[in-house]
Point group: C2
């Protein structure tokens, strides 16, 4: 296999969660040299950033960059506002953990790096099945961003064919986990919880923890992060 | 006239240049309470940020925010790379001063703030006539972003009608200047130059200076920034 840096380059958004860790493994399996991008947007839980670094390092990326952009100053989300409680029961509609335009900001920054690298491929872990109902995780959203990317950039206008890959978009959480396990992803490195305790221990009751637990249960696998699980 | 904070809110991207200063005056004239947003993306010329502050303050905005996001680390543009010379003659195609995906990043951040504010209106000074040939200044680009914004956000999905206003898009530079002068914009506060000297004095030879000089000449007006001009 060629060295990662010699392969066709792709920018992969890596948050430190289960989904993006799986996407990174999928992009690498497809033969891309991966440039992992984490956006530090002022999320309450700084352990996410440490998880992203662990995941990227372990996956053998060409490069990992963390870019700071303070979306927390705008407010409007329980994920960036320490005063707003994270819901511990399922809620109807788009939940308060939605961060205004988060994936648009993430993809815009990824697009800027991709173009500077000469990369035509961007990967994102958006998922529209076992997800929290965020509007920027739907297939029509991803398609609209891809169209925009090709109009927005020199690389899109001159070469065309900029692709936004969302390989998980139609998968159930259990399928994502099975796929990741098959590709050797170590989910002990990831963090999904919206309100982890001290050293990154998941709360077990937030939306993200519930979706993750349901996914492992349906996959018939143990979550290596859950206390008492076999590591 | 009602106080700015009581009006319908709009986020207005303000760079410190002539175009965005005019857009800010247009948005205010249309009755919006303006929330000015400047993105500090690592541009070589920090005087731009000072100009943005002057322009926003003078226009009586409800609030002005500067958000830092280091696009310069990605490279790929003469506007963020101090080693790359700014061209002093017109060039064919998209020039080296193009910053990868800049307007997409700006609009994404503006969209995040707009949604947090509950604002359905975003203004940008994109212009497709007397411009530098950047792909993200064309009407089809702005239309694609508007479509994306309505798919991307809770406010777009639940209320619809998110608008990206680019009131200068079909105007010549001379028309923009005439419009701004009519609305009382003080162009002495603005800065267009890509490589200003010491205290923000324009170089007179870069693309931005040439377009600005041509605009004032066609409008039959003096540029208050040009040395020797009557202020």
């Amino acid at each position: 296999m060629s060295a990662a840096a010699d392969r066709r380059p792709a920018v992969v958004l890596v948050s430190g969660g289960l989904d993006s860790a799986t996407v990174l493994a999928i992009a690498a399996e497809r033969g891309f040299g991966c440039y992992a991008l984490t956006v530090d947007y002022g999320q309450r839980h700084r352990q996410e950033l440490a998880a992203a670094r662990r995941v990227a390092r372990t996956a053998g990326v060409v490069e990992h960059r963390s870019v700071s952009l303070d979306l927390a100053q705008f407010g409007g989300s329980a994920l960036t506002d320490p005063r707003a409680p994270v819901p511990e029961q399922p809620t109807a509609g788009i939940p308060v953990t939605y961060v205004p335009a988060r994936n648009t900001v993430f993809l815009a920054v990824a697009l800027s790096w991709a173009e500077a690298l000469g990369a035509l491929d961007i990967f994102i872990g958006a998922n529209a099945v076992d997800y929290s109902g965020y509007p920027d995780c739907r297939p029509e959203y991803v398609a609209a961003f891809e169209k925009l990317a090709n109009l927005a950039t020199r690389i899109g206008v001159e070469q065309g064919g900029l692709s936004i890959h969302a390989p998980l978009i139609h998968m159930r959480k259990a399928q994502i986990i099975q796929q990741g396990v098959r590709l050797g992803v170590d989910y002990a490195l990831t963090l999904s919880c919206y309100q982890p305790k001290g050293e990154g221990e998941p709360c077990g009751v937030c939306d993200a923890c519930r979706l993750r637990a349901k996914g492992f249960a349906e996959a018939g696998l143990r979550d290596p992060l859950v206390v008492g699980a076999t590591r």
